[in-house]
Symmetry: C3
């Protein structure tokens, strides 16, 4: 019993102190924010190669994940999305946004997963899965 | 003693893993942000009916909580505020903002509670009351 | 052993419930955001004199920390920065931003410390040093 609890406490402390850093990036502002965010995330991965990053997009924030989307300098987002997905970044799109904008799922790039609610996703990642928050 | 500590650890773990999700929404950008936020919060409650949401407004973010405030499509905010308050959402207004803008408390809708400092409220909810953060 | 673990649990609980509140302020939007933030941080310290505040700036958010920077009302930022630094606020600047904008470190005010990555700094403060997040 004592040993079990010691292990439990040790586990908790080590997870908090040394464990995986998990970050949810909220994108909700449109392509200018998304353009900056691609660079932020690349820099974040370079600074901390073990960080786990999940991008949750809702509202105008989903635009960069639609097929054919372009950055503020008219580059396709596809390259950056593919590169970051290849480095382990996940992209999640709010289904409420798709519905309210009458967009079907097949307009969304294949790297992105659709979730029921962007805001609930962001809250739950923080409250239940030890993610910290960043809104670039 | 062992039993007490086991209960304590179990309590902590279950609270973290399965408990109430508490979210503070920061509104500090004006009526465009507040208009979007009313929809975000409605969607959040629909996705997770047990979520506890506290809206903390400061700076230009308090405008939607002033009497007679209208959304970007010229609808009164009163309807959405009343509806969300009825679903358990709390609204808190920064007193520093009221003072710096020479607004008296009676200009604020009755659903909102005045707190000394919006930023301190947001930090304290996160640091002391297990709230997670969302800035729509 | 029992005593040790009780102390550990008590320590953890008291740290969470009553301890120091640590807040990271993200500045990434330019001098308008920074102008507002100086007032927010002053109000925060007045409301909670024991709060620990670290400002992390990246992107356009670093502009107010460059020598000679002025607020939206053409006041030098130097006064507010010096005052807040004197009250214990720390300022950290993203080196990736300096590099991408070809700015040398000696353009940055002496109160600010350069960190490798602003976004990694913000995530690590939250994940590893018990900081909560605020983006004014």
């Amino acid at each position: 019993m004592k040993r079990f609890m010691l292990a439990l406490v040790a586990l908790t402390f080590s997870a908090l102190a040394f464990g995986q850093v998990n970050v949810v990036y909220q994108l909700s502002d449109g392509v200018a924010q998304a353009t900056r965010a691609m660079g932020n995330i690349r820099n974040h991965l370079n600074a901390d190669p073990t960080v786990k990053i999940v991008v949750v997009a809702f509202g105008a924030g989903i635009d960069f994940l639609l097929d054919g989307a372009q950055t503020t300098t008219q580059q396709p987002f596809a390259g950056a999305i593919g590169e970051l997905a290849g480095r382990g970044v996940e992209f999640r799109v709010c289904n409420n946004t798709l519905n309210s904008r009458n967009l079907s799922r097949d307009k969304v790039v294949m790297e992105a997963k659709v979730v029921p609610s962007g805001v609930a996703e962001i809250a739950n990642l923080q409250a239940k899965e030890h993610f910290v928050y960043l809104r670039p």
